[in-house]
């Protein structure tokens, strides 16, 4: 057999595998496959990962992050980026907590500019009022939406780069939250609010009832308020993107802003609306985190939160170049990201190493996005 024939034979043998690999790579479900493969791969080495308690715990970590990532998906779809999501979460958290807290310590919060007007030793303006939690949630949502809309307005009206405007918003609103609270947490929130962070709607118990009393640690939350809230938000966001004219506008703006404008898409209004939606989603995340940590915290979206939000969205497959992405992808990306954090915790890596690994995974996801785009373009030719 000649060398040329061998090469040809090797090529023919390798072709189906390459085609299979390419098909997987370009599949809409690529990240889902990757998540399943990763989960099963690590589960072989760390069996505790598949235990019901750990799975339930991982799900609990998914929901607040997913709420913020849904908002970031909208922004990335129009080829923008929102760096102020964490700051919006912190500001909204504080704004709502100020309204509903039932007591505040003068020693801690006496220096707040709100002290004596909106905040006092007997709490916020709606302290102990039955509607306090509901009004506070409304305040948080409106605050988030306004912050987002403000950024969107400057980006659309003055053509500021999104990263610059949202960086300014990050600095401004995170500092404002620290100033309002003097960098303190606002605690003593009503149970009706804190239950949103930890309350179970449906709990389950796996195993035989061997003792008269089932240990509390063996009762696992299955359906929780954060799950219902975030799932509802995801469904609404999905419908908005796939079933409405606005959704088509969002993709059109992301693919080619000028062409969209020429085609009659109200680009400016779409940008403002998209950032307002991102702010709203950040506020929802802020609500869930505040309820979970039982306090309004100015630093709630600080640290590596932004890395997690953008990372999960990009890993899900939403393109940084705009015009490509789905809410379902983002949900899978968040799932993968939480799974990654959970397994890295299980591997006993330090916080710094965990962030380094996460950064590397996000880089890989961004490179993969470039590769997929090139493959699709080549196939289209």
């Amino acid at each position: 057999m000649s060398s040329a024939q061998l090469t040809e034979q090797r090529h023919q043998q390798g072709a189906p595998a390459a085609r299979w690999l390419k098909r997987i790579l370009l599949s809409d479900y690529f990240v889902l496959y990757l998540t399943i493969a990763y989960f099963l791969g690590v589960a072989v080495f760390f069996p505790a990962l598949v235990e019901p308690r750990n799975l339930s715990n991982q799900l609990a970590n998914v929901w607040p992050l997913a709420a913020a990532a849904i908002g970031e998906t909208f922004v990335l779809l129009i080829a923008g980026i929102d760096l102020s999501i964490g700051a919006t979460m912190g500001f909204a958290s504080v704004a709502g907590a100020v309204v509903m807290t039932s007591a505040a310590d003068k020693l801690l919060l006496g220096g707040s500019p709100l002290w004596g007007t909106l905040l006092g030793e007997t709490g916020g303006v709606l302290a102990n009022h039955p509607a306090a939690a509901a009004v506070a949630i409304l305040v948080m949502l409106v605050a988030g939406m306004l912050i987002g809309a403000l950024s969107g307005f400057f980006i659309a009206r003055f053509r500021l780069p999104a990263f610059m405007m949202t960086l300014v918003a990050l600095m401004f609103f995170s500092s404002a939250a620290v100033w309002i609270t003097q960098s303190q947490n606002i605690v003593n929130l009503p149970d009706s609010f804190t239950n949103l962070g930890a309350g179970d709607v449906v709990s389950v118990y796996f195993g035989e009832k061997a003792t008269p009393e089932i240990k509390r640690r063996d009762i696992l939350p299955l359906v929780t308020y954060p799950m219902l809230i975030t799932t509802g938000l995801a469904v609404l966001a999905h419908l908005l993107l796939t079933r409405t004219t606005f959704g088509r506008y969002v993709y059109a703006v992301g693919i080619n802003r000028k062409a969209a404008a020429v085609s009659g898409v109200p680009v400016g209004r779409v940008i403002v609306a998209v950032f307002a939606i991102a702010g709203l989603c950040a506020a929802v995340a802020g609500i869930l985190y505040s309820a979970r940590l039982e306090g309004g915290r100015p630093t709630i979206g600080g640290g590596s939160a932004l890395l997690d939000i953008i990372g999960a969205t990009v890993i899900g497959g939403t393109s940084l170049s705009g015009g490509k992405g789905k809410i379902a992808w983002t949900m899978v990306g968040v799932l993968f990201f939480v799974l990654l954090s959970n397994t890295l915790n299980y591997m006993r890596l330090s916080a710094f190493h965990i962030d380094m690994v996460k950064g590397a995974v996000i880089l890989a996801a961004a490179l993969l996005d470039v590769l997929r785009t090139r493959l699709l373009q080549r196939d289209a030719l």
């Binding site: 072989v44 069996p47 979970r292």
Partner: protein
């Protein structure tokens, strides 16, 4: 695509079967130590004491660094519980987040001890903490002795300043209280104290102290709520020509709290007058025995407050007390 999906489903089933059939090492006792960075000598020494003692006791230690992110720490602790942790030792970022984490552990029937930084609600969990008010008061009392000598010479009231910690941390609140109580005992010696917030952050402390020293150059009595701020104090006083040893003209009476190696050296060198000493080794021991006893007794929700009485190390008792000060032991081992 159907074939691909089938292959993936088959692979998934095989791997899941393998995962479930493999025995887990649940028989080992695992204790998780959740902390927030190791930014000062006190935390480094505490971390070493806890980890090495647990390992000596044959306990598997899982270290969880929350990196000053309350939500991350909560998730880490929940992960630890889900992955079979038998007990938790916690140093939270602040008292409020400590309360939430302690509640999460107790909700899951896992015993938890807080090391040195207590939760706001001290009725839950094993709370190991220095008697911060008493220790701070003892340290400031020792400074007062120097203040009295100065007052006798100059006949002028002293202007005190306190660098406060993060007041969301009960430790910081109690240390401030100890300082104020000691100062209040001598109205003839002191003017109204100046309070500078630090949030346990050296940059914040630097900015605040510089501003205070500029606004009021008469300040001549400084107490820091934690010894790790002495280098910051030095960087402010040195350019002003006020970083002097005790007995030298222009010496500002200085005191702190922790008893770390830096403070031990500065007291030995004569720059600092006193420090309140928390016994990091005793506190680590109290946290460990509390958790290990609870695990042995299958006690899911032990509640107790274990106090470290502490003491003051000063210029006056340095020779007798240095050997009992953890920071001086660290200093000795370094040299």
């Amino acid at each position: 695509m159907k074939a691909t999906t089938k292959w993936i489903a088959a692979g998934a089933a095989v791997a899941l079967g393998l995962a479930i059939s493999m025995p887990s090492k649940a028989a080992d006792t695992t204790v998780c130590y959740a902390f927030q960075d190791l930014s000062t000598g006190f935390w480094v020494a505490g971390h070493q004491a806890i980890v090495s003692t647990l390992e000596k006791n044959g306990v598997k230690v899982v270290e969880l660094n929350g990196a000053h992110d309350a939500n991350r720490q909560l998730e880490q602790v929940k992960d630890c519980i889900a992955q079979g942790g038998a007990g938790i030792i916690l140093t939270a970022d602040d008292g409020d987040s400590g309360t939430v984490v302690v509640a999460a552990a107790q909700e899951a029937d896992v015993p938890i001890a807080t090391f040195n930084r207590p939760p706001s609600d001290m009725s839950k969990g094993i709370v190991v903490v220095a008697d911060n008010e008493a220790v701070a008061r003892a340290a400031v009392d020792a400074m007062n002795a120097e203040a009295q000598k100065k007052f006798a010479t100059t006949g002028k009231k002293l202007k005190p300043l306190i660098l406060m910690g993060d007041l969301a941390d009960p430790n910081a609140v109690k240390r401030r209280e100890g300082f104020m109580n000691s100062i209040a005992k001598h109205p003839e010696l002191f003017e109204k104290p100046v309070e500078v917030a630090t949030k346990w952050n050296s940059q914040t402390a630097l900015a605040g102290l510089e501003a205070a020293m500029t606004a009021d150059p008469e300040i001549d009595f400084i107490f820091t709520s934690s010894d790790f701020l002495f280098p910051t104090i030095q960087s402010v006083l040195d350019p002003l020509g006020k970083w002097k040893k005790a007995g030298e003209p222009g010496h500002i009476i200085l005191g702190g709290l922790d008893g770390d190696d830096g403070a031990c050296k500065l007291i030995g060198d004569g720059f600092v007058d006193s420090t309140g000493v928390q016994d990091v080794y005793l506190e680590a021991e109290l946290a460990l025995t509390g958790i290990l006893d609870a695990i042995k007794a299958s006690e899911a929700r032990p509640n107790a407050v274990k106090l470290d009485p502490g003491f003051a190390l000063s210029q006056a008792n340095y020779k007798e007390m240095a050997d009992k000060t953890w920071g001086c032991q660290v200093l000795k081992s370094k040299s």
